[in-house]
Symmetry: C2
Subunit: 150 residues, 2 copies
DNA sequence: ATAATTCTTCAAGTACACTTGAGGGCAAGA
DNA sequence: TCTTGCCCTCAAGTGTACTTGAAGAATTAT
């Protein structure tokens, strides 16, 4: 049987996060430490994994609200098991694959679009269609359009 | 011979950016429109491409300061030509390739690290080493470490 | 037991990337 | 010409993601 009580300092040291950041994540509902009798936070070991995930997702540009949603299906702090994490990993993996594919397309377009100097609207309307329209609901986003005349 | 004068409204319509955003980019030194006699901004057609590039780079998570640096080698607003853009595109393409590779590694690690449930520190120390150490200068970032005990 | 360290809350501050609003000037169509 | 619409600046506000600081309580080390 293992100890299940890490202080915020322990967790900070093991994740590299500032304690203030961890408190902030709690206030935003991304972690749910329990409190000891004196009201101090105590973290389960699994919370380190949770925080690590937050760190990764953050780095990939996901806002905390999205990360909270991704983490939501995991049992509240105590006892998410292997299959919980595996399920969640599969979901997130798909999101990541999308991102990678999107970035790849963007990279290709950079070659074919800025690189060659043609910069046709049609080509870049694709970028527009899939990358921005979904995000901002509407509003035309004609990107990289600029007929070269120099 | 083509007209070389677009108002901020024209540019906003063609890029999908808000005029306030474009003014902000100017104040941050990312675009350099000239002014007419009355002090109104006038943009060259090539500025649309410039702004489109800003939009893309932004979406990829680059801060405006980085984008300014990337754009810096381009001639100031008037007359960056095909080879200017091509050079710049090659540079940015390399940055993008790095990002893609990084994300790919992360995705693989998600499989092998969260996915399987083993979550070994050694595996994730890799993530740590290449993705965070570089960024934050120092400070240990032990990520995803959490021996499963449930 | 005492002292040092770590923890607590809460309010305010910071950085980035803008948006909004006030007050006023310029431009193009009827 | 007039009036509608777009443009200007500047200050202040917004949202996200935190950090910093003050005042004090709990924990740990000696």
């Amino acid at each position: 049987m293992k100890r299940h009580d890490l202080t915020i300092g322990d967790v900070a040291e093991r994740t590299g996060l500032a304690t203030s950041a961890i408190r902030h994540y709690e206030s935003e509902g991304l972690v749910h430490p329990y409190r000891n009798d004196a009201g101090q936070r105590r973290f389960a070991r699994t919370d380190i994994r949770r925080l690590s995930f937050i760190l990764i997702a953050q780095q990939l540009g996901f806002p905390l609200s999205d990360i909270r949603d991704q983490l939501a299906p995991l049992p509240q702090s105590r006892g998410p098991n292997k299959s919980d994490w595996a399920r969640m990993s599969r979901r997130f993996g798909r999101v990541l694959d999308e991102r990678i594919a999107q970035m790849q397309r963007l990279r290709d377009r950079l070659d074919g679009c800025i690189g060659c100097g043609c910069l046709s609207l049609e080509t870049c309307a694709l970028y527009n269609a899939e990358d921005r329209a979904a995000k901002r609901g509407a509003g035309p986003r004609f990107v990289i359009d600029d007929t070269v005349d120099d």
